[in-house]
Each structure stands twice: as C-alpha cells, then as structure tokens.
Amino acid sequence: MKLEDFELGGTHLKSSDFKQGKVLTTEWEPNLKYAWDNGVAIGRYLAELKAGRIIARICHKCDRIMLPPRMFCELCFRPTDEWMYVKDTGVINTFSIAKVNWDASRRGPKEPPLLPAVIEIDGASEGMGIMHMLGEVNPKDLKIGMKVKAVWKKPEDRTGSITDILYFKPVTAKRKTKTKAAPKAGGKR
C-alpha cells in the first residue's frame, strides 16, 4: 500500500469559515471543581511555607533528603523516617525566559517576561529541585549554576501555598537591576 494511493480524510477548516458562519459550533464551558486532600507530607510542607520555612523528608535507607517531602520513599518503597528543615537558598539547575502565559496568550509589550526555573535547594540531596520563579534579576544575567535565595511574602500575607515564596533572587546581585520584582503571571483562569 502507499499513502499516496488513498484519499485521506481530515478536512481543514479556516478561521474565515467560522467567521462567515459556514461552520456551526457548540460551546461548552465545563464547571469542574476539585479540592485535593494535601495529605500528611504536602500538608506539613505548606504549613511550614506559611511559617517561612522549607521542610524536607529523609529516607534512611537510601539516605535521600527529599523535596517536596513525601511520606513514602518511591525508590525503597517504605515509609520515610524523619522531617528536616532545609535552607531557603539554592542553585539554578535550569531556567527559561517566558513570553507566553499559561493559556498561550502572549505577554504584553509592557509586561516583563516570566522567569520559571528549577532550583536545587541547599540542604536537600543533590539534584533535588523544585520549580519556582526568579525575580530581581535582569534576564540577560541569568546563568545555570547561579546561587539564589527565596523572597518571601510578608508573614500576614502567607496562605500556606507554594506562592508564599514570591520568587528566588540571585544572592550575589549587588548592582541595581531593572526588574524590581518577579512579574505577575497573566492570563485569565
């Protein structure tokens, strides 16, 4: 058989087909809601974030200090053993300079790019990273391996969420940078 010998299905519609009413559509906005149980490990993690600390969990069998914390070790398949506070500093494992929002809409001309990163947290096992944002830095100066430190919300504004950390900023950045804080995520949810 050859694909070229068949008349293939799949009819392409153009945007104009919709605008001119050539195609009728049915719209539906699902109204789905969830309230996920945080459980023991993430429950404590969030409570500690509210208190301005980052907590990890240790497995004595494989000697890993794990972030985010978990009540069982996925590799040894046994319960983890104890809690341990880690630092709120770390190293950039990788980063991006994002000009689109979560829904693929573009950041406006006056909106600075978002700076997501994987940050390896000091005190946790090597390579244990979390995804978070960077701020107070000129994107051009960003480098993998840069030391960063968490910038926290004011205690009264914290809610027990990963966003209680506003962003991470470079530790060594002494000169004034253009970007004062981490830009706000855009797009309507």
């Binding site: 539906w28 789905l32 149980d37 429950g43 398949f77």
Partner: protein
C-alpha cells in the same frame, strides 16, 4: 506457553466517604504496600504495572504522569488504562499470557470526595453535540434505562428497593464498607425522587479508597503462595455510546463480556457453576438487569430470585455479599477492584463474618456508569 494466571497478592485501604487525612499518593501507597507484602514481593521484582484512572476524575490532564511513585513503578514498564480495574486486569492478564512478563501489579483508586461537582463531571461525559445541550441530570440516563428494564422484565420499583435493603444489610458484616444500614423497602421508595423511577436511595453514594492486586503466571504463582486465586475467564465489551441507538432493556455490554469470560473458562451453565457473584448495583435495578445479562437466571426472573432469597447471604447464589456499590459506595474506576477484592477474600476463606461456606468459583462484573455502555467480567477460582 503460559497456561494460567493467578492473583497472588491484594491490598486495600478499605472504603470511606472521605479521606481527608491522606493525599491520593499516600492512600494508594498503603494499598500497594499491603498488596506487595501479601504477595511476598518487592515492587522491584514486579515486571509491569497498570494504573486505572481517568483524567477528569483525578483533576489532571495526563493523570498518567502521577501514577508511578506510589506503586513503586519508577522506571518500570507502566501504563494507564482509562477504564475499570477489571479492564486493567484484562490487560495484565494478556501481558502475562504473552510470556514477556511474569508478574503485573494493577492499581485502582477513588478520591471521589475530592471531586466537588460530580454531577457536572458525569454530564461532561455525554455526547457534546446531541445530549449535553439538553442539560439533563446524568442520572436521567439511568432513569430512562430503569423504566425500560422494568417494562421488559415486569420487575417493580419495590423489588429494586429490596436490592438496596439486601445490600446495605450485607455491608453491615463488611468492615471495609461505609454504608451498611438496616433500612426498609419503604425507606427507599420514600426517599427523594431523582429521575423517576429512580429515588435517591436507589443510587449508590460515592466513596474513597484504593486497591492494588498482583498477578503472576502459573509457575510463579505456585512458588509464591499456597492458594493462588486463578483467573479462569475474563471479558470486556462496549456497546454503542449513542444513547439514541441503545437497546435499553438489556445490558448488552454485560452479556457480551460474560459470554467472552464463560467461553474462556469453559462454563456452559453459569447459574449452576458459579458459587457467588459481585455484580454492579450502582443503581438498584442494575443488579437485577445484570443478573439476567450474565445468564445467572432467565430473562425476567431476577426479581423473583431476589424475593425468594436465593441471592441473599444464605441463598444458593449469594450476590453482593460485600454490600455492593450500595453498601460499600461507588468507587469509580476502583469499582471492579472492590469486587475482585471480595472474590479473593471469599475464595481464600478470609472473609470473616461474611464468609460464604465452601465457595470455589466467583464472578465479578462491573459497568463504567452513565452514560457508558462498557463493562467487564472476571471469573476467579481457588482450584
């Protein structure tokens, strides 16, 4: 060639209306750890893993991403089946029969309490163009079917209510069950009308919980445990998703799945050979309709069999001794898992206060709920 496949380990958290103390990961870990201990294995020794999950029940796109850690499947051959546990078990059965895997773990869970508008969710499964704009309650699909079933079988709403009475009573003896109660036929009929002839108490409430089972080929099973529970037959089937084209009286998916499972098990007269059954009673009438589709009785006879007591705890063919979905709670993709769990406990003789004496062959049947016409059947034995 592999000849047989058995269940060699099973673990569960039990089933509760809410589980606010644990995350889905922690919930599943408990069931998995118990299953592997029961099988005498570590997950590192297991050749393949299956999770059964649907995106919108988890609240994730690509819920598959979150399956490996809590079942010990990191960097192992793992897959998600968006279907019932028994469909997952069918995949596990086939995997072992290929000869490429000796052992497979299958996981199913429900965190129904985390879904905040289940009715909207169920409606979201309807055909987006033909059915959804009508904005019926999803239970209306079951109401339509119940009307047609009662018409064809000459069963009554009162008889359907007796299913609820029986199963909630059975659940009183099941420590895993959350909805055991002593109620009357009148209580069911007096409960809020939902989509008549369906009343509130005809419909199973939801529950949380997890089950993990370990399957093994014949040689492995015989070295691992004294009483492997053999999969003698397994079948799954889908009837049309189009509501307008269905045969509403008969549960065709149940008949086709059963025929497939019976063929595999070499069973010609199921009513005589099957000792007990756990079948889907998510809506009360479904137990009766499914009994007929499974050929456990003649068409139109299920209600009489129920009234005669034949399907009760002491009857000739006990049905839903666990309490079924009415007594245990509806568990979404874990519905089949709870039924398989009950079969394994009964066939091992570990069912405690609800143990049925001298059982050798059990049948589990499941339906994926409205608006689907998909179901599966498994036949297990201890011989």
């Amino acid at each position: 060639m592999i000849k047989r496949v058995a269940i060699v380990g099973i673990g569960t958290t039990g089933f509760r209306p809410v589980t606010p103390d644990v995350s889905f990961r922690e919930l599943i870990f408990e069931a998995a750890r118990k299953a592997y201990t029961d099988a005498g294995m570590e997950p590192s020794e297991i050749d393949g893993f299956i999770t059964t999950a649907e995106d919108f029940m988890e609240g994730y796109s690509i819920a598959d991403e979150y399956c490996p850690d809590q079942i010990g499947a990191v960097l192992k051959p793992t897959q998600t089946i968006p279907g019932d546990f028994i469909q997952g078990m069918a995949t596990g059965y086939m995997m072992i029969m290929t000869g490429a895997y000796r052992t497979i773990a299958i996981e199913a869970h429900s965190k129904a309490s985390n879904m905040k508008n289940i009715s909207e969710l169920m409606g979201f499964a309807q055909d987006p163009v033909y059915n959804r704009p009508l904005r019926e309650t999803p239970h209306a699909v079951a109401g339509l079917e119940m009307t047609r079933y009662l018409f064809e079988s000459a069963a009554s709403s009162e008889q359907c209510a007796q299913v609820v009475v029986k199963n909630k009573m059975n659940a009183m003896r099941n420590p895993y069950a959350a909805f055991g109660a002593e109620i009357t036929e009148g209580d069911v009929l007096a409960s809020e009308p939902v989509s008549l002839p369906l009343h509130r108490l005809d419909i199973a409430p939801h529950a949380d919980g997890a089950v993990v089972a370990v399957l093994a080929d014949e040689d492995t099973a015989n070295t691992l445990c004294e009483t492997p529970i053999w999969i003698e037959g397994i079948g799954w089937s889908t009837d049309t998703p189009t509501l307008e084209m269905r045969d509403w009286g008969e549960a065709a998916y149940a008949r086709l799945s059963a025929e497939m499972a019976y063929r595999m098990a070499g069973i010609e007269n199921p009513a005589a050979l099957i000792d007990f059954a756990e079948i889907c009673d998510e809506y009360s009438y479904k137990e009766l309709q499914h009994m007929e589709a499974l050929k456990l009785c003649m068409p139109g006879e299920a209600a009489y069999m129920l009234e005669s007591g034949a399907t009760s705890y002491q009857g000739e063919l006990p049905i839903n001794i666990s309490g079924g979905a009415r007594g245990v709670g509806h568990l979404f993709e874990a519905s089949g898992a709870h039924k398989i769990l009950e079969l394994v406990e009964q066939l091992r003789g570990h069912a405690g206060a609800r143990q049925i004496p001298d059982v050798n062959v059990g049948l589990a049947q499941v339906w994926r709920g409205v608006p689907t016409a998909t179901g599966a059947v498994a036949i297990l034995s201890n011989m």
